[in-house]
């Protein structure tokens, strides 16, 4: 490192200029200080949670024994899991159709697919509310987890396009000769999908699943409009807790959620980094 200093700063070595370094540091601070503060104050031994009074784990204990919080958390995880699986299947299939075939109305479908991504969430929320109130009322008083049906459906509707977009982008780099090679070597159509197309798609499926899961897990607006009185999700629960006061218990609950998301992301990145999964994009017309 010390020897690198001897060389003058190159025209494209922006990161070796102090102005850029300062800017990066500022961005880092701006992004992470709130999160770190949130986590730190979850260990604060104070009801009011404004001044640091001392270290404690009692709010974690409290959060873990708060039955309604636990229930909301369970609901959220269930909704996220189910909507992820369905979005993944739906999204991947849409992506395959758009990648593979030409058909009338393809551009329309392509455009319509982006709608849930660009439409303001509040509009989606109202639309879902109207839909479940007028068009297809979701029966009340069902047993768990059927009572979550309305939320799950609305979550699928806004997260599967994200999966489709990610998978389609990945498929753009697929070398069609690979598929033909499998067919040529004796594989039927189904076998070709399983042996050649799916392995290529895998990283985008992981990324898409992660996106769908986190989107669902932290969605507040749309959930708020579709949730019944007896179906509370984690973000909605936190919101209602905050309305009374921001207690360290809320911080503790949020911290758990953050840690969970970070772990999930790390796992996904790890999987994506695996050369066995990601290796090989398009043709290899290259050096000897």
């Amino acid at each position: 490192m010390a020897s690198a200093r001897k060389y003058p700063v190159g025209p494209l070595e922006y990161l070796r200029r102090w102005q850029m370094q300062a800017w990066l540091a500022a961005v880092g601070l701006f992004l992470y200080v709130p999160l770190i503060a949130l986590m730190a104050f979850s260990f604060n031994d104070s009801r009011r949670n404004i001044v640091w009074k001392g270290f404690t784990l009692k709010y974690y204990d409290k959060a873990f024994h708060d039955a309604s919080l636990i229930e909301a958390f369970g609901n959220s995880m269930t909704i996220a899991a189910v909507s992820t699986v369905v979005s993944l299947i739906l999204g991947a299939m849409v992506a395959l159709v758009l990648w593979r075939f030409r058909f009338p109305g393809k551009t329309v479908l392509d455009g319509a697919l982006a709608l849930p991504i660009v439409v303001p969430e509040i509009c989606m929320g109202v639309a879902m509310l109207v839909f479940f109130a007028r068009v297809m009322p979701w029966p009340q008083g069902l047993v768990w987890p059927l009572n979550l049906g309305a939320i799950i459906i609305s979550h699928i509707s806004f997260s599967f396009p994200f999966v489709a977009v990610v998978v389609r982008a990945r498929m753009a780099s697929f070398n069609r000769e690979m598929e033909e090679a499998a067919r040529d070597l004796g594989a039927g159509e189904w076998r070709t999908i399983v042996d050649v197309i799916l392995p290529h798609m895998a990283p985008s499926l992981v990324a898409g699943a992660l996106l769908a899961f986190t989107l669902s897990l932290d969605d507040f607006v749309i959930t708020f409009f579709t949730a019944g009185p007896d179906t509370v999700t984690f973000p909605v629960k936190v919101y209602s807790m905050v309305r009374f006061s921001v207690t360290p218990e809320v911080n503790a609950a949020s911290t758990i959620l953050i840690v969970l998301t970070v772990i999930l992301t790390a796992v996904a990145l790890r999987l994506q980094g695996d050369p066995a999964v990601t290796a090989g994009h398009a043709p290899a017309a290259d050096k000897s």
Binding site: N175, E177, E180, R183, A279, G280, P283, A284, D286
Partner: protein, 375 residues
Amino acid sequence: MSDKPPIITFENITKRFGKMVAVDNVSLSVQEGEFFSLLGPSGCGKTTLLRMLAGFETPTEGRILIDGEDISSVPPNKRPVNMVFQSYAVFPHMSVADNVAYGLKVDRVPAAERNRRVEEALELVQLGGLGGRKPDQLSGGQRQRVALARALVKRPRVLLLDEPLSALDAKLREQMRTELSTLQEKVGITFIMVTHDQDEALALASRCAVMNRGLLQQVASPNDLYEFPNSRFVADFIGTVNLFEGVLAVDEPDHAVIKSPEISTDIFLDHGVTGASGGVVWAAIRPEKIELHKRPEGSTAPSMGDAPPGANAVAGTIRHEAYLGGESIYEVEIGGGRRIKVKRSNLTRWDQEDFALGEAVWLCWHACSPAVLLS
């Protein structure tokens, strides 16, 4: 060879994509054991023909027979042919051995036999011991060998090669050329290769089909294609050629003379021309068949001995020289702005110094050298 039924027959194959005619009424047959090459400029329909044989395209009209059986309705995975793709299409998520084993696995070949055959195939393409590697740890040339082994391990009736050498650099291409032909001799499988590179086709193939704009132009051995082209397109596409448009002034059984306004000398031929019927003909002379001689002030045209004095010899001036090491290519102006390409081997280390830019020269050729083209 010719009394055996052909292994592959294209019967009046036409392929249209919308309004575009990719392949236009092509009939062609390939004998067992041949190294057959489909040659033509890009977009001539050669790849489409190959893909129809593999089963990735269906002919609009006509039939394709393999061993006398119509395979038009057979899906690609059930055809007794295997293909080496232009991009090699080696599966990136499988090891080299798994790639080669793939076709056998799909066919449910028992593991013991499968492993043995994979091992053999890898040895055959000189990749023995690299079975555990992943494709991204291989060079381009090695990936191509994997693609070859993967296709050959299935012991196809016919191996199809789509521009097999186009992605390799010059040195490696030359090496793979030799290896491909040794490989074909060793396995004895019929090879059909698509290429736009005439050198590749001439060097490898036992027989070539030249295509242009979906039409079959000529099917012949490399030697015949080069020395006896049947049209200006083939003459020009295979190698380099000097073409002179003219009429047959004399046409006897044992000699003929072409007079062309493009060149001041008579083009004398030591054979008669059949089927000319007085129309326009073209004389095609290859650059290496023309001799260069110095032309001192006041000298007369040298005689080649097999043509009457004054014929097959023309005065010119060297206008351009391309020194290629082993040979030099001269562009010689013969009047009227017309330039002729002449190729000359650099037999000694001082050869290229003999003819400088602006030098006055005689160009002459033997009476057997020009090819007469009727179209």
